[in-house]
Symmetry: C2
Subunit: 202 residues, 2 copies
Amino acid sequence: MSPTDIEFWFDFSSGYAYFAALDVEALGRRVGRRMRWRPFMLGTAFKVTGARGLSSTPMKSDYARRDWERIAREKGVPFAPPDDHPKVALAATRAFYWIEAHDQDRAATFAASVFRAYYAGALDTSSPEAAAAHAAEIVVAVPVELAAGIADPALKDAVRATSEEAVARGVFGSPFFIVDGEPFWGWDRMAMMERWIVSGGW
Amino acid sequence: MSPTDIEFWFDFSSGYAYFAALDVEALGRRVGRRMRWRPFMLGTAFKVTGARGLSSTPMKSDYARRDWERIAREKGVPFAPPDDHPKVALAATRAFYWIEAHDQDRAATFAASVFRAYYAGALDTSSPEAAAAHAAEIVVAVPVELAAGIADPALKDAVRATSEEAVARGVFGSPFFIVDGEPFWGWDRMAMMERWIVSGGW
């Protein structure tokens, strides 16, 4: 990773991360920075902050659903996650890191594709078989090889370590960006982050 | 209150509400809506959501402080709350509603003034005496009358009922706006709210 990269930390089951994912690559091109997609398990951070997910917090859950659907209407994009949203997207997260290790350039493509498929209600991000089959469409690998890779204890450990790294570096929400050592939390900080980069910080 | 008013719910000890307070009246003028300032005790909502204030949540507290100071630098405004921020701003909240009952037009002026003074480190919003003295500068009343008014059990009950009304209507954070029945949570939703009003909703 280059020190000028923008780290884009997210959990696939974060509605606001989905909207961020739709725009991050364009933002990166505008500011001349490479976007490094870093899926992690947000639950790891919740254990430290004591926070709960939006969807399991009274009052906030109804608001978040309304807000996500309102954002989707304004942007003209779908927002139709599975009925049991938020899924625990560990399988899709493991598939991402397996792909990154084998075909780094395709990892971001896979992540963006997972977001689009999940929020169209068409991908079970918690299923290793579904994640492997979806990944196989992106990286031209056989699903069985991917499924075995996702199940590899070494990969599982690496993914767990990545979530712990996120927390150690102050990442407590999703989406969460780090650029030039500066943290920006939330889809609604992307415009500020862009101004911050363009102006050289303030 | 007119049905076209924008309700601006906030806790005086909310850093993001301070930044909102600096801009809400200009927003209201742009869209031709009156802003109705509604201070309440955010702790009442926290009892329902189980959430904690940003400043008492691990990881988030450090980030929020950094974010507030960053916003203040970009906007070129002070951000210097007292060392024991966030104070429990019940006295200032009661003073607001006492003023609103006696001199409605000055209530928003008082609230804006409380924000500016608190975030310049110069007002103890938890002190009835300090709140009364500050209010007296705005409404041309004698501080002793204000102090007695703030201590009136009927006013205290009304303020408590206002916080409960906020929660009953889905207000769980600060700042929180309701316009034409539509809720918008957060300083970072003000631009969206303005687009929503101007476009007639979407």
